[in-house]
Symmetry: C2
Subunit: 406 residues, 2 copies
Amino acid sequence: MKNILVGQSGGPTAVINASLCGVIREARRQEQIGCVYGMINGVEGFLEGRYVNLSDTLDEEALNLLEGTPAAYLGSCRYKLPEEMEMPVYRRLFERLHKLNIGYFLYIGGNDSMDTVDKLSRYARKTDSSIRFIGVPKTIDNDLVETDHTPGYGSAAKYVAATVRDIVLDASVYEQQSVTIVELMGRNAGWLTAASALARKEIGDNPVLIYLPEVAFDMEKFIQDVREALKKRANIVVCVSEGIADAEGSFICEYGQRAGTDNFGHKMLAGCGKVLENAVRSKIGVKARSVELNVCQRCAALLQSAADVEEAENAGAVGVQAALAGETGRMVAFKRTGTDTYGLEYPLVDVGYVCNQEKKFPLSWLNEEKNDVTRAYIRYALPLIQGEREHCMQDGLPRYLFRKLP
Amino acid sequence: MKNILVGQSGGPTAVINASLCGVIREARRQEQIGCVYGMINGVEGFLEGRYVNLSDTLDEEALNLLEGTPAAYLGSCRYKLPEEMEMPVYRRLFERLHKLNIGYFLYIGGNDSMDTVDKLSRYARKTDSSIRFIGVPKTIDNDLVETDHTPGYGSAAKYVAATVRDIVLDASVYEQQSVTIVELMGRNAGWLTAASALARKEIGDNPVLIYLPEVAFDMEKFIQDVREALKKRANIVVCVSEGIADAEGSFICEYGQRAGTDNFGHKMLAGCGKVLENAVRSKIGVKARSVELNVCQRCAALLQSAADVEEAENAGAVGVQAALAGETGRMVAFKRTGTDTYGLEYPLVDVGYVCNQEKKFPLSWLNEEKNDVTRAYIRYALPLIQGEREHCMQDGLPRYLFRKLP
């Protein structure tokens, strides 16, 4: 009987722990699996001999708490394995795996983490190891190829939509004209920023303008768009991706950094929201404000989408089943089924094809002016933000499962 | 039979609409009151003849939605009445009040709004008008004197505590040392920043350092505090008020503005969080990040404290009762009762004494090092964040009551 080893890697999401629960619960259901071990801080920590026996420590009550706990319970890492399989790190890692009698290696992460799964599965084949390596997807950025969407995106999109709806109300209380810029995560892909369109209750509502990094950003056109929007309503809200860049490829956030240094002579890194806020104030002369939603987009557990939690958990469970069925070097993907009602299948795809690629927001889902998304995106995204999870509250605050730090 | 006029003024909160519900519901219960009118955009809009008849438009279902809707349903203003009562604006305003047969004027707002209530009640006395003017407190800043706390603070504190708890988890996933600075609202008073202490699950937890504007901020001491904290744990979270200033009275946020201009030659206004992030990176050389919670602190309706909603609604109801009882120039205050169990009474205080004053965070609730709050604050604050309100959700997002814009 072989043991299973699970790890979390890359930036956290609100449901990466739900996938961990899926792995643990499914492993317990499977009689061929012995212990469930968790790497502490991904492969990086495991290489240093840091892991935990999850079979002993987490009962069903703890798993329920874990499902609603944001960030990576096991800790995470940003560790890239070398290209050369002759490097000693591979041998060291496999020695540790054999010592723990690991038969199944499950890695929950984004495209960098899928690179790890790819390399380890190739090394295993090369060395005739029978250990199976499976990737479980995770990223709020929704930028993995070969999958309809990624676990973590639904909750982040729900957080963005709900929070932008709040901000729109807040920004509309005064008569005086105002422009509020909301800066959202997404360096290369605009999926999260697109989710701000879900905040509208009807067509024409705020946010009235949405700019994604897939399209070259033109400052003059932006100022003109804002002027036009201000003719129709006093208070406008604009949503932008952090990674917007102009036609020359210069990031808008860098516009603000040319002259800006602090007391110590260091560059002040302001976001593109600040740059646009300043541009609106100086070129149009109206009250302007910028809000950066920042890490809350990936850790706001109270706004988990129940659909996302369920799918993230299923992805973990399917990963375990795949490993048991003999698969290796594969990632669990999401395939949408049905046209009228939303459904999901969990096919497996080659991890080597997924890693180091990015799925951009489709240009066909942008309006002609390239400053908004179309109904096609809304239809795509709505099923992903459905349902709320009932959280365990204690003393007015969410109760989470904390791993005791060493 | 006289009518009632209600308005909202100043910055919004998550429960300012709950106070509006309290006014409307209590006015409907009182047979001596005719119509309930609402000023659109406070006295400023009312002076332009903009108001709405709330008796016709809001049924009980709408009021339930309104209770959970953030920002000011009636719109708000920042309007200061002149000191000289001979100015024509007073006569104009009272003409409008008489025309609508107003007997009771309820104004929901912070200390600037209480100044309006004070002046109008004095003008009424001077001109033998029988209209009664009552203030209903509201501010996330918790800085009104003569009241134990203010409606709006409990929900904002709950949002800060829950969000900082999420951020702490998010900031702790990597092994590598890191410092996360969370910048919270509060220009002169540190009440909201203090609420970040509620995020801890036990003593010694993150956030390990908390700096309020009531104490002069010393950059060298701060760097030393961070260095010490990093000896004990790899990832530390620091919470600071936006308004922290040094012993000379210079705002820390201004440290970053001396040299910083954007492409257009305009000053880039960065917050103190950015300045501290840069200082940590350059002086200590560890990974640093800053997060500004911004307007979400006052508009995150899904994190309303049920206790706060109830008290805000009661404040509105008590305001109506006070006006009917012949009171004028008074504000509804909160007085804590009981020592073992939390209870609240709603005394009236002179609005002239409340307006234009600020209640600072008590220095006796700070630790010796002035970089944390004590248990006394925790005991004070815990009852204010208790309970959750069940929100009406639709298509995965909160359903709110929107006022149709003209």
